[in-house]
Symmetry: C2
């Protein structure tokens, strides 16, 4: 039987309206591509929970130097990106070039942090070791026991909820069409992805389809196994405290530390919010706020900054990071024509939003990732289709 | 000028629709008195936050033997009271005769608890000292470090939110009239209270007015200083965890303990809720949930029952107990004719609800408190009006 070929409705269909999907859609639309986004509630997702640290240097891990380059490049572009997005929407992102102080509480923490510092210096990163006394001079609310820390004046913050709201408006203003529903499955016709079918039955056709469904990107129906991204949910619990005027500013920069081996950070926002995060739990799709998660965050934050006990606790939330095997994102074209990925950003989704938008727009218009994004091609995890059967 | 005397609209006007005001109104209406309640949202108030322990024995404090008698009498009447209220409304109160286990974590706790036990025995109370091993046999989730505890099989629990809802319905069915507004001031005419004026300007006249406004009872306008009850707000923060079916029953009775000098309790409800309480803070009208309050509760509860970390945290709330100088309620007629009090129940509002209803109904119909309630007359705090001027 001959199926008449209809012209696709869109140039680009983005599955997932979190910050990564939205920035991809915005940048694609700016390049003249007819773009649509599928999401039951665009602008929600992990960004609603995230703290918004732009911590390329203080989040550095051994073995992640390739990712570091991408993180640094995205961090450098943040001021311009924020300005452009604000200009396009009239919305402020809460971008705050406040710097970060990473502190050590005991001798072990200090030893580990000095090693990290040496590693940072070999990579040419701007990071200064300062004494405990100097830490407290910068941030008087720090615990008396702080033994020293790394002052990183280049690690900033943005408000992820405002970022999501602004991206949503930028998309709308750039003519992006929103389908407020879930993608039931991706449509594969012959050897090519042709779009997606929504839960309500609507079939959407597109020249190129971008899978940007965060932690759920690996579960989308319709795709052959070998192109499904190896993305898993990594649960994070986060608290929002409020800094009453009498205590303001409380902290003047992001403060983070290792407490009993666990990472904790406190991000003070201009609006008087203090975000405390985050747990990192491999529990599948569970998004419950637990007594243990909240306890651990409060205990560790209290060890770093005892005065938090006085602050009202406004909110406790859990979200799912899209974790990938090497903690780096999967960007650009896949082995299946017509299908691109923009997912797996793990802890760095907010930080990598600007550069993801640029890289994806480039891939969507030229068919190729720009050089700086090529190490993040999904091909690095590729298994040949026939291997699946072995 | 001659003011024509109008017949009062009601026999009894109750200011405050918390559980104490409601039980007073219900019992008054049952005795044939035309009764009205003034409250912007009846059934809310401190009961919405309270854990609902009926802990006459385990809450015993030195020097509170008089209050103990009242507490025990009310505890004894709870089964009949709950049955009667359920019969009147069709609503279950979550009354659960589950007993209480009060445990000690360290040698100091154990010494203090053994002293309390000796005191309980001199008063003839049913309380059994059991070993740490026996504690864990009763409640396997207890921390390995528990050194022993008091098994009090007569200290039970009720669900205060269900209690409030049932009392509200019982009042409605008994013909109590509700004015959903705040009392702007009490009306004093000559030497007698005549009712109250609402915030919307409505004047309500009544033969007798009962002030049952919880922690706000001392702030009501219109009353001369010397009859205002010496009641202050005592802030309590409480958490509600959820026991997933896989962990049920988790605890089979109320577990409480002293941890680093602070009291903490865990009340497992039949509906799968686990209430963890409570802080006790003298902070005026502040009802903020704070990082410190939640931290302290989770830390202390975790020390008693480490497994709470796995439980979802459903709710964190703060409420205000109506504290009185001797931690006992103020019940019955005041020095000002037409004005009665039913307030100052502090930690024992839920426990004392049945007996408060009985005592107040007696006072409203006969003009005198029954013998068991007489020690709680407001007169015990009375200062003569002229002394105010000295």
């Amino acid at each position: 039987m001959h199926v008449p070929s209809c012209p696709p409705q869109d140039d680009v269909l983005v599955i997932g309206g979190g910050i990564i999907g939205l920035v991809t859609a915005w940048r694609a639309a700016q390049r003249g591509l007819r773009t649509a986004v599928v999401d039951p509630s665009p602008g929600a997702g992990a960004a609603h929970v995230a703290a918004g640290m732009l911590a390329a240097v203080t989040e550095l891990q051994y073995g992640e130097q390739t990712l570091l380059e991408l993180n640094l490049a995205s961090a450098r572009s943040y001021p311009t990106f924020a300005e452009e997005l604000t200009e396009a929407t009239g919305l402020d992102l809460g971008y705050r070039p406040c710097g970060t102080l990473a502190v050590a509480l005991d001798a072990d923490d200090r030893a580990a942090m000095r090693e990290l510092h040496a590693f940072q210096l070999t990579l040419g990163l701007a990071s200064e070791w300062i004494s405990g006394r100097d830490c407290r001079r910068l941030e008087p609310m720090l615990a008396p026991g702080v033994r020293g820390g790394l002052r990183v004046d280049g690690d900033h913050q943005v408000d992820p909820r405002r970022l999501a709201t602004a991206l949503l408006r930028a998309c709308e203003r750039a003519g992006v069409v929103f389908h407020r529903d879930s993608a039931e499955r991706v449509t594969v016709d012959g050897d090519r992805v042709r779009g997606a079918v929504l839960r309500d039955g609507t079939a959407l056709a597109a020249e190129q389809t971008v899978l940007a469904a965060g932690s759920r990107s690996g579960t989308v129906a319709g795709l052959p196994e070998h192109v499904l991204p190896p993305v898993r949910p990594v649960k994070g619990q986060v608290l929002r405290l409020r800094i009453p005027r009498a205590y303001a500013p409380f902290l003047s920069r992001t403060v983070r530390g290792v407490v009993r081996g666990g990472h904790v950070y406190l991000v003070p926002r201009e609006n008087g919010e203090l975000v405390v995060g985050a747990t990192s739990e491999e529990l599948g799709w569970d998004t419950e706020v637990t007594a243990g998660g909240v306890y651990e965050l409060l205990r560790d934050a209290h060890d770093l900054v005892p005065g938090i006990t006085e602050l009202p606790l406004a909110e406790a939330l859990a979200g799912l990071r899209p974790g990938s095997p090497d903690n780096a994102p999967l960007l650009g074209p896949t082995a299946l024509p017509g299908l691109l990925l923009a997912t797996g950003h793990h802890r760095n989704g907010v930080l990598l939003t600007p550069i993801t938008g640029d890289a994806m727009a480039e891939a969507l218009t030229t068919g190729e990732l720009p050089p700086y994004a090529r190490p993040f091609t999904p091909a690095r995890f590729a298994t040949a289709p026939q291997e699946q059967a072995v």
